[in-house]
């Protein structure tokens, strides 16, 4: 059915084109009379039909989008299917690459539990396609892998999952539930928790006589950096991110540690706060005292400075872990991870940086079956073990994030194995313990990525020495308010 309809139509269409081309070629001969010359008329009439149908489609389209719009305001709640052995086909979009392959491998396990659900698993350029697909309602998938930062922008098109998630919600990291909650509805099945950690080059630090494990606050980190620099004058021990996007993401990790974020639950800006002042002042101090290496995340410069021992502290999300495993071949094994320093002694030792969830578009045909797929993947031991545990793609397990479902994130029951590149360290324990400290969050505003043009860039200007922390705050607040919040 999928192939035959379009195919026959396509063949007919092809035939028309070919006939026209042949007709036209038949007219090539010179000396033919005038009437032949005007004969390509069929071309005209045929094309005219095309444009006719297009013109009529104009009104049809307008009417067909309108009801879609009306539905949107209802905020439907997805219900789980009730039959014993539900059947049907679901279309699931994932980003290409390692996660696609990891998820793909879980489908077999899923089918052991639900043999009659066929999973059509596609690798899709989600950023390029999702918005257009949802707005136009064309070929809408049943489930999509999506950045947490994007959910706010799409919630009008998504199922409210409050009901189906109710049995699990108390066992999900609160930060992840919060970022998915918009106006009381939960619009995504939380996937991973990405706790911020302090990665450090233990070997290099030990040679300089610095014991990173004693670091408890960001002031301690500054002291450790000063100590390291005293023996390595060329070094810039702390990473300073030069990509405006990732710099803003890292800023939000620091803020998450303090339980705040760019916007509150109502979407009001709250940059102008002592918390942001404190974070930016820390970054500005690193710059001012020349304690940092400014580079874009894993650019050639960044990698070289990590390898030569100039850059030894990397406060970043857990997903930095792949760098020592794959890219830092000279210093692999020298790296370790620990909880982030606290902003005040005794404060939370981690914040969230990035993360994704699964969303279910309301125009999907079998959304309730897609829910079963994600329920299996995230909340069934067979599912989450297949994702994070050793698999074909990652023989020692997927160690660039941890589950947001707390029963799966038990520090004493690791899903992935200790990491050789971290000197055999049990990253699982470090990350899950850090993850447990992440304060609750707020939904990311739909304009979050747009704010990079303002906040992200202003942070970079501060690191250039052109703005001070309070200028970053006041300027970014004004610009974001005018160009993003007020334009909603």
């Amino acid at each position: 059915m999928r192939t035959k309809g379009p195919l026959s139509r396509y063949m007919r269409w092809l035939a028309t084109i070919s006939v026209l081309a042949i007709l036209a070629l038949g007219l090539v001969a010179c000396g033919s009379d005038e009437s032949t010359a005007t004969d390509p008329a069929p071309t005209t009439s045929d094309s005219a039909t095309t444009s006719d149908s297009a013109t009529t489609s104009d009104s049809a389209t307008t009417t067909s989008t309108a009801p879609t719009g009306n539905d949107a305001s209802n905020g439907d709640l997805l219900q789980a299917p009730t039959e014993d052995s539900p059947e049907g086909q679901i279309t699931i979009w994932d980003r290409s690459g390692d996660l696609y392959e990891v998820f793909d491998a879980t489908i077999v396990r899923f089918n052991e539990k639900y043999p009659n659900i066929i999973v059509n698993h596609l690798a899709v350029d989600i950023d390029a396609k999702l918005q257009n697909t949802l707005i136009t309602g064309t070929d809408v998938p049943d489930g999509v892998f999506l950045d947490d930062a994007k959910i706010g922008g799409f919630s009008d098109f998504l199922w409210d999952l409050s009901d189906v998630l109710a049995p699990y919600v108390d066992d999900i990291a609160s930060q992840k539930v919060d970022v998915n909650t918009i106006d009381g509805g939960v619009f995504g099945v939380p996937f991973d928790l990405d706790p911020g950690l302090l990665y450090y080059n233990e070997t290099a630090l030990a040679e300089a006589g610095v014991d990173a494990t004693l670091i408890e606050t960001y002031d301690d980190l500054l002291d450790a950096a000063r100590d390291y620099q005293a023996t390595n004058p060329e070094s810039g021990p702390i990473h300073l991110e030069q990509s405006p996007f990732l710099g803003q993401l890292q800023l939000e990790m620091f803020a998450s540690q303090l339980g705040t974020s760019m916007a509150d639950a109502a979407g009001e800006l709250r940059l102008d706060s002592p918390e942001y002042e404190q974070i930016l002042t820390f970054l500005d101090t690193v710059r001012e005292e020349d304690l940092g290496t400014r580079a874009e995340y894993l650019s050639p410069t960044d990698i070289a400075e990590l390898e030569n021992g100039n850059q030894v502290f990397y406060p970043w999300a857990i997903w930095f872990s792949f760098a020592p495993q794959q890219l830092l071949t000279e210093t692999t094994g020298d790296w370790r991870a620990m909880e982030l320093p606290a902003w005040e002694a005794g404060g939370a030792r981690s914040g969230a940086m990035g993360g994704s969830s699964f969303v279910l578009p309301r125009e999907g045909e079998n959304s309730e079956l897609a829910w079963l797929f994600y329920e299996f993947l995230m909340f069934d031991e067979a599912g989450y073990s297949a994702v994070w545990g050793p698999n074909d793609v990652y023989p020692t397990g997927l160690n660039t994030s941890i589950p947001s479902y707390l029963p799966a994130a038990d520090p004493t029951a690791p899903l992935f194995e200790p990491v050789e590149a971290l000197g055999g360290q049990d990253l699982w324990a470090v990350a899950t313990e850090a993850g447990a400290q992440i304060p609750g969050g707020t939904p990311l505003p739909s304009w979050w990525a747009g704010a990079v043009d303002y906040l992200g860039n202003n942070i970079q200007r501060m690191l250039d020495g052109d703005l001070n922390p309070s200028e970053v705050i006041s300027r970014s607040t004004d610009e974001i308010q005018e160009n993003l919040v007020d334009r909603q």
Partner: protein
């Protein structure tokens, strides 16, 4: 000489049909959208000229135009000069390796842009890139090609030049076809130097082609989107946020009304620029 009246209509009809179906309809839709605040869901709300007023009073809109204008200055003149010279050289029948050159200059145009993005980062990385290594070997300081507002535009312009100059050479080559080689032969018999031939025969005779290229590249530079999107994401400090990229930003945030208004403003602008160039062409034709 009397010509049949129907023939030209028949010739342009297929284009008109496709144009009506796939350009006029979206254009009308866009024009309507530009007067609303539609975000892709629900009924569009009429906001009149608000989107236009917002854009026309917005610094960033103007700086996106400014960025494109600077890129235009960096790209189009260079491309014209290099394009004409290379085309003239490649047009010469006695040039050795002519076929190889013709193929080589078009290769960048075929290189998928997503791969180009990777290449550019490696070439222009500040600390360890190939270009700075080269500069360093002759004692020049490192340049923040992709990290400073000053240098990012020239770096992006270089990418665009690298990628599209081969395209322009092909168009120029076709223009050169209309020049009778006898003209050159008699000129060189008269002892006219190569550069003189270039100035007094080649350039005047392919002036229409040159103007065509100017109009074409003006459109391309102001619509430029994919290059900054994959290489610089409009940065650093929005210095490579071109008019085309700025427009994408609205649409990407589902601010479809503002995006539509922005694109119509852009159409008006490039139309005005094109008309200006076409007029310049006509004036020269007349003289």
């Amino acid at each position: 000489m009397a010509r049949p009246r129907a023939a030209p209509y028949v010739f342009v009809a297929p284009f008109v049909a496709i144009f009506l179906a796939f350009s006029v309809y979206p254009l009308v839709f866009t024009a309507r959208l530009s007067l609303t605040n539609w975000r892709g869901v629900g009924d569009p709300m009429w906001v009149g000229w608000d989107n236009y007023a917002y854009l026309l009073t917005n610094d960033r809109f103007w700086s996106s135009l400014w960025n494109s204008a600077v890129l235009w200055v960096l790209i189009v003149p260079v491309q014209l000069v290099v394009g004409v010279i290379v085309a003239v050289l490649l047009n010469s029948a006695k040039l050795q390796l002519r076929g190889m050159y013709r193929v080589a200059f078009i290769v960048p145009f075929v290189m998928p842009l997503v791969a180009v993005a990777q290449i550019w980062v490696v070439l222009f990385d500040e600390g360890y890139g190939a270009v700075n290594s080269l500069l360093g070997s002759v004692g020049l300081p490192n340049v923040g090609w992709l990290t400073t507002g000053t240098w990012a535009k020239p770096t992006l312009a270089l990418l665009f030049l690298w990628k599209t100059t081969g395209f322009i050479v092909i168009i120029m080559l076709s223009g050169l076809q209309s020049i009778d080689s006898v003209l050159y032969e008699s000129a060189s018999l008269d002892g006219a130097s190569w550069s003189r031939q270039l100035r007094s025969i080649t350039v005047p005779l392919i002036r229409r082609t040159i103007m065509f290229v100017v109009v074409l590249q003006t459109l391309a530079v102001f619509q430029m989107f994919a290059e900054p999107f994959v290489v610089t994401q409009g940065g650093p400090y929005s210095s490579t946020t071109t008019a085309g990229y700025f427009l994408y930003n609205h649409i990407n945030r589902a601010d479809l009304g503002t995006g539509a208004a922005n694109s119509l403003l852009l159409v008006v602008l490039v139309m005005a620029l094109s008309l200006m160039f076409v007029r310049m062409l006509r004036v020269e034709d007349g003289s």
